[in-house]
Symmetry: none
Subunit: 200 residues, 4 copies
DNA sequence: TATGAATGAGGATTCATTCAT
DNA sequence: AATGAATGAATCCTCATTCAT
């Protein structure tokens, strides 16, 4: 009996997810209220719950949508390309995502910091698999003498840490850097670091 | 008229702060409940509120206690020492803190991610000042040709990111690394990275 | 964006105010509980708070509604009328209000006795202004030799005291007068007193 | 086994009653807290409860102490004296008490307005008896043609109302009279009123 | 006599969710 | 598809009172 989503349904679901991202990323799952999300979405609370059955449902929908978006760059890493450039390119894409989608980064960070109760399975499943594969590629590059020796897991963690930091700790970064735009110089720094670490 | 804290007061305040750290670091300020903290502290809720006037008071006390602890290593950085070794030593101490006090790291991360409503002033004040001073030291080292050129702010951010990541994203790290202890190999990796980035 | 109140809203707001008057007038602001008001209104507590955001809001709404009602007779005093009859008529209307709306009188008395924390501004503003104007009328009547000399402020206080007493100290009055209806004889007494005090 | 009260007991009981009067008269029974009373008394809360077994006990003690003080002037009314002067003297003593012990007046008013749950018996007992006796005296004076005809109960109520008003509605009186001292002119007014009402 | 510590019973308010229309 | 109305289950905090010393 389920009908395909109508246009208005799709639109409202999108609106709600956008509002949910805004609110959940700032206040966390518990800290956020459906009222806030409804307000941000410009919908009444019951109407919002007409599209998503619960607060949790919105949050979960956000998380999985986000994961896909977030893992894409790693999947795009090309084992046939030039190692340093590939890794550099990956890091830069991640940094750009921190700049362009900081709320997603924060939502994810919030979830992980709190123990990842709603995302642990994905981490141990899809994510681990993807990282394992990438690690093999890195190991192969190292073995082939195309980059300096490096622990592949920690290299990946480092890239995540170095790029997501600018989204997740945005307040702190800006408190210290004042009016300067962090991202421009961050990209230069990131490139310098990666080249020094990897280039033979 | 205020008397010095009695022994039992000191003990209970410590117990409460410990419990608060446990609970707040996992659930964030809003997500945590006084009940949880009281439970973790082994006290009744009103008794807990006998020692701290409000949920907020516990949280604030934790934050400021934490900040002091957390900033100490940066203050210890010695401009007269060997640059690479000083920075490396700083980074290692930070990593050790992530290993030994991951809850503190997460509490802080939670606060920052959510916009730092209760800590913004400190960031823009004391923290910025400290970072500014350290940056000057780094700049001086660069100018003296003792380390490779590097953006001092971003170098500091990088160390924070690379070390705190292991506490804040612990769940993710362990999901990927499985049974392996992350910290041992992380320290090696960290040393490698820093040496390659900074050593002339 | 605010729509006009629906019928059910108006009804429930009225029901709540009625219940609030009942409860607050007997127990005072602090002594009353939202539970009592909800019970008296036949609503659940959260539903009551759906219509008024807080206990204070109900109380404040009552106070200002009451003030308007309560000051009206004084505004109706006609400087062109016969002085004694005007004042007498005013006093009688006030007495009738004490008989017909004793709860309002008590609510007001409670507020004032406790220092008028939520009504002080109105007293010093609108009320004082109104009393000042009335005083001028009384003074003019005295100056014209149409009533015996009398201190206008105290005359007004006297009328308030003599009439409100029957509402505010109702319990005491009835303890002494037993089964007799206080108000009938009170009106005669009030008329006698005012005529003797004012008639030339 | 009960020992006679020691000096320190008497002193502390007095201190507590004084503090209780202060607090209860302003906030009412429910609105006041033992903490406030203890604070005002300069005692610790448990120590205060060492002298009075409960909040209620303090309040009740205050009420009965107050009643005695408050009824005394009426008892002093001398049937052998000059009627107008006797009544006038009574009214003035009452007004003086409103000036000198406004807190007692307010405590009593609070209790009565709230239905006199802790004092109803006294009202219907001792107070009624006293008022009945005084009424007979007034009736006798009227019958003897020594004062104008007047309803004795209402005359007494009037005196209570006219005098207590200045204590109970102090805030309102001062809001209207500004810097002027109310009591001086009030006494003149009171005398004028009573003479006009009663003098043959 | 005095007080630091502890608690059970509230009491105001919030919030996710459901109901009725 | 939308919303006004309603509610049970928290959740923070208060307060009179008791306990232990």
């Amino acid at each position: 009996m389920k009908k395909a989503d109508t246009r208005i349904q799709k639109k409202n679901q999108a609106v709600i997810l956008k509002a949910g991202l805004e609110v959940f990323s700032q206040y966390g799952f518990r800290g956020a209220t459906i009222d806030q999300v409804a307000e941000a979405a410009g919908l009444s609370k019951p109407n919002l719950l007409y599209y998503f059955p619960s607060k949790e449902a919105i949050y979960t929908a956000l998380l999985s949508q986000l994961l896909e978006h977030w893992l894409e760059p790693l999947k795009a890493l090309d084992r046939e390309g030039d190692p340093v450039e590939e890794i550099l390119s990956y890091a830069k894409r991640k940094l750009a995502m921190s700049r362009d989608y900081p709320q997603e980064s924060r939502l994810f960070a919030n979830e992980i910091i709190q123990g990842g109760p709603r995302i642990g399975d994905v981490l141990r499943g899809e994510l681990k698999e993807l990282v394992d594969e990438t690690s093999k590629v890195i190991d192969a590059w190292v073995a082939a003498g195309r980059i300096k020796p490096v622990h592949p897991y920690h290299l990946i963690f480092s890239i995540w840490a170095l790029t997501q930091h600018y989204a997740d700790f945005d307040v702190q970064v800006r408190a210290i850097m004042g009016d300067q735009d962090p991202f421009e110089s961050a990209e230069d720094h990131l490139e310098v670091v990666i080249r020094r670490v990897l280039t033979i």
